[in-house]
Symmetry: C2
Subunit: 125 residues, 2 copies
DNA sequence: AGCAGCTATTTGCTTACCCGCATAGTAAGG
DNA sequence: CCTTACTATGCGGGTAAGCAAATAGCTGCT
């Protein structure tokens, strides 16, 4: 399967890592443009999967995985409505977090662009 | 997809999609336990690279890269003091962000753990 | 039950990014 | 200058995680 974010850490598997590891995973869930897009989309109103698929512009399976991840991580909740599932954001702190991040990111947009690639090794294709 | 990000009103307004990539990158910078650890370390007081290396417990080159990333992303700023560079956190919003994330992550720790695991019982690949 | 629509999982490939080790570059001080 | 201390970059390897496409599994309606 392909649970998007989060999988076992490389060298730090069973370390009594306090919140660091958890928080890092938490952030990683938001570190993907697609999930971020979906989250903000759902934030603006309850959405069905189909709407999410269309909004995200990627395949349904991918969206399904991303949504599952967001649900698992507690960002959004799912509710069945007939044949469909409807997703919504339950925790108001999520909005705060995103807003705060957007504010900071906007202020450092130029620098962030510069930081696109950390090491700067072979890339391209 | 690579939009240059046009900085709009931070804490207000509608949300264009422009910032998505930038914000994702912003979160990605915090999606690593090591960087998170360094950030919180620096948050508690100005630190030299050497102190960061010792605190992080990884090689100096790695720490250098992580610190560069944090600086590039605007989380911390560097100041030269004699031969050394001293790092500190300038923006109070950083602390807010981390605290908010920790709060949310703590509440969803179980779910996050679940998302961490690989679905199949056995091995992955 | 059987069909149709919606959602989740599997497979295979590719890229991103973590690490340590070795080394190159640069700013201070003698 | 030249040396030394500090910081940054290059290389190679390994793992996580992204995507598309095909497919399996549910759920509700007729």
């Amino acid at each position: 399967m392909n649970t998007p974010v989060l999988a076992g850490s490389p060298a730090t598997a069973e370390v009594p890592c306090t919140h660091l590891d958890t928080t890092a995973r938490f952030f990683r869930a938001l570190a993907d443009p697609t999930r971020l897009k979906l989250l903000e989309f759902i934030q603006r109103g309850e959405r069905t999967s189909a709407e999410c698929v269309e909004h995200a512009g990627i395949s349904q399976p991918r969206v399904s995985v991303h949504l599952s991840c967001l649900v698992d991580c507690g960002y959004v909740s799912a509710r069945r409505d007939g044949k469909k599932l409807r997703y919504s954001v339950g925790d108001p702190r999520v909005a705060d977090l995103v807003m705060l991040a957007r504010s900071l990111a906007a202020d450092n947009a130029a620098a962030l662009d510069c930081c696109t690639r950390i090491p700067g090794e072979g890339e391209q294709r």
